[in-house]
Symmetry: C2
Subunit: 230 residues, 2 copies
């Protein structure tokens, strides 16, 4: 029985073929966008048949996912030193998200397709899917670094749950970005800056006597609802 493309082990020759197809896909996606980057065109550019492309990639979405994984890797590389150089929570959030927005900007023209599966549980591209697990966990890990490496350490309960919550925040910003047609994506940048400040302020205030119960409730909710799947 034929195993799924992603889980198959490949000989050296096959690896090269796979890499060639992937490169062709990424190039073409970048050059002509999603719709015009047909499987046939991708295969042709890679010098293989369409059928062969499907030996390595189960669907067109998998190409997009590979693409997405790449932008994510770029993001981490750009973000890490910036995070290390920033100290307050607000600045660390801005460091993280500014890197993200810069990294993804070139792909805005077809970002809709990139992200449209976000809400489709049947799609491997949705950020909660098993296929996206690795990328998602890397991203959450990055937010863990954001909260763990602070000069003035945060309380333990926040340290535990914030990474998850901040990842959600970051996905929300991206969703806004996808729809943002303002000059230079000014609105998204504004949203990112202001919400970074708001989050930092809220974290600071969350220790106040009247506020603390709210914070406890929120963190408990976050913990319980991210336990299983979604």
């Amino acid at each position: 029985m034929q195993r799924a493309p992603e889980t198959r082990e490949l000989g050296p020759k096959a690896k090269r073929t796979r890499a060639a197809i992937l490169q062709a896909a990424i190039d073409l996606l970048g050059e002509v966008g999603y719709e015009r980057a047909t499987i046939r065109a991708i295969a042709e550019r890679a010098g293989v048949s369409t059928g062969n492309a499907y030996y390595y990639f189960g669907s067109k979405e998998e190409f997009v996912q590979a693409f997405y994984a790449r932008t994510h890797a770029e993001h981490i590389v750009v973000a890490r030193p910036r995070i290390a150089a920033a100290h307050g929570l607000r600045d660390r959030l801005r460091a993280t998200m500014s890197a993200k927005l810069e990294t993804v900007e070139p792909y805005h023209p077809f970002a809709g397709v990139l992200f449209r599966s976000a809400a489709d549980p049947t799609s491997p591209l949705n950020p909660f899917s098993a296929a996206s697990r690795e990328v998602r966990e890397d991203a959450i890990e990055l937010f863990r670094e954001v909260v763990v490496g602070m000069r003035k350490p945060l309380p333990k309960d926040l340290t535990a749950e914030l990474p998850q919550l901040l990842w959600t925040w970051h996905m929300g910003i991206l969703l806004y970005w996808v729809h943002d047609e303002s000059e230079g994506r000014a609105k998204t940048w504004r949203l990112m800056e202001e919400s970074s400040a708001l989050i930092a302020s809220a974290v600071k205030l969350s220790g106040l006597p009247l506020i603390a119960p709210l914070r406890r409730k929120l963190l408990r909710l976050a913990r319980e609802l991210t336990a299983g799947a979604a």
Copy 2:
């Protein structure tokens, strides 16, 4: 020149044909789900040709949108009396969202497709699109009723911006719901209940001296970023 299907005026006969196609689409979507409800099958059930279906609906997504508009209309009918019967903000939020969750539950099996265009700016189905404007504004209007009809009126600044923000909250809950495979959608219900309480508490506390500046910032941000498009 041929006008777009949605904006065309129809004679009485044509209206019946359109209605028949739409009904067939809704029935079939409910019975066999998105993938198996092919345009050909829909047209056949309605007793027309596939070409004719495209005279009335510009794409398969438009059927889904019609479907979505219908569940939305159902939601308003169910929600309104419940909202009127509740008094505190928390209860009014729960009234609104419980009606929503009950209304959409039957469609959970293919909700992914229903909502997958949420992130695609090129899709008429995305909740920010022009095509969705009416449905979206109705929904925001419903949240306006939630905040306006309270026994103890809320401050003016909140009354102005909360409807928009609550609509966003409600979309977030739906996004979670789409991915929620827990028994009886228990996690989503939990999230809905707890976040209703959290929002109500936050609104109450937002008048405190230390908190008020945060609230002002948040409301200003919300106002400015929803001014134009996205």
